[in-house]
Symmetry: C2
Subunit: 253 residues, 2 copies
């Protein structure tokens, strides 16, 4: 472990690298933060020691103190349903933020766990709010970004509800590809950071169904899959799958 402590500040350059596609940079740009302001933001972003696979970044019910951005690795957010079953609500890839759902409650409604050893940025919320009070417009921008982030998850959930197993998996694969693509990696060839069980849990399907789906997708020539290695062979076909079953005639009746 090279890092002895979790409170070493990051350089501005690193913030930009980390948050190229995440909300933090959206926070700064439209507001027109000057050099000094960004330095102030710089000062409050903390680097945590790497989070080992299987360990929790925060747990449901604990006090909300910071929001986080993934540098490397991947995490899952989950809640425990009343019967004690884990329900995965989101996956978080490099460049993405998590912990936003805690803002309204003061405590985390979900647990975040590392799917693989991950490096995480911590942004103490009190300090972010304090800074926002001093920088005009940042508070408003913060509101917009938070609203957007939270709504985006809602949109995803919406997309998954009411869809067939096939559509759900296609949506997930395309989403993952898209998100990896934004981070400069291949959008068609990537390693799944999560197990089949996690995928099936997230999609609300039985693990057996997952397995059959992967096979069906491969037999159909849409993807190549070997363990966690996935290659999207026919993105257009996958996208077509996400639309409703019967090929729409692309023409109003």
């Amino acid at each position: 472990m090279a890092d002895a402590d979790s409170s070493q500040p990051l350089r501005l350059q690193e913030i930009k690298a980390v948050c190229k596609t995440c909300s933090l940079i959206e926070l700064c740009l439209p507001v027109g933060l000057d050099r000094e302001d960004v330095d102030a933001l710089d000062g409050i972003v903390q680097r945590r020691r790497p989070l080992e696979k299987g360990s929790a970044l925060y747990r449901a019910g604990t006090r909300f103190a910071a929001v986080y951005a993934v540098r490397t690795g991947a995490l899952k957010s989950s809640v425990l349903s009343e019967d004690g079953e884990e329900q995965i609500t989101a996956f978080h890839l490099p460049g993405e933020m998590l912990g936003l759902d805690a803002i309204s409650f003061g405590t985390h409604p979900s647990t975040a766990m590392a799917l693989e050893t991950s490096s995480i940025c911590e942004i103490p919320f009190a300090e972010l709010e304090g800074l926002a009070e001093q920088v005009p417009g940042l508070q408003r921008q913060l509101l917009r970004v938070m609203s957007k982030e939270i709504f985006h998850e809602q949109e995803m959930l919406q997309a998954l509800a009411r869809r067939t197993a096939e559509q759900r998996l296609a949506i997930l694969l395309l989403s993952l590809g898209d998100r990896f693509g934004r981070r400069g990696m291949s959008p068609t060839r990537f390693l799944l950071p999560m197990s089949r069980q996690d995928v099936s849990n997230y999609l609300g399907l039985a693990p057996e169904t997952m397995s059959r789906l992967f096979k069906r997708f491969q037999d159909g020539g849409w993807i190549t899959v070997n363990r966690r290695e996935v290659r999207l062979e026919d993105v257009a076909a996958l996208k077509a799958l996400t639309n409703n079953r019967e090929m729409p005639l692309r023409r109003d009746p």
Copy 2:
């Protein structure tokens, strides 16, 4: 039509009456708004002319200018999926707010339509934000409330996903009862403001399934239903239904 125009300000008393259970009052109380501040808020709340059944409060894609609170009546929020099907995302009962999902986009992502003739409060967002800038802490409180509202919908969606048809209907009926109850009406006896089709659309089920479910619930003695008139006869049983099928032993294994 008694009201000639939609821009007549409401009295403070009316705000309280309207927003007893909605977010607006949550906005004021924790911040400790004084008489003067509440008067300022008073000034920006507008009353619209009654919205007739079937007409839209706002449509998806239109510019976001205000958030709304339902005084009387009921509305549904819906989006059009890519294949042109309506997807109902929420119902809005008296005392509840809508239009919050537009904050992050600047345009409304959904369409809001009156299920019955409804009376609506309009709160111009620009003015609310302007006021928030002058009143310390209101901006922050606004953030919390927005976050909470949006997350609440997400929670509901979460609750509906991955559940059997039976569980979904039980959840909806209990939710409606609870929400009517908060407004001082009976939590166990109410008129459904929406059609069976709307219910089935919202729950992601076929209308035929809805019909069978209502019958099954009545046969089981959980509810009495006649057209849109619903009476919850055994709330405890309905709550038990929402838990997972096999009675949990209420004990850690």
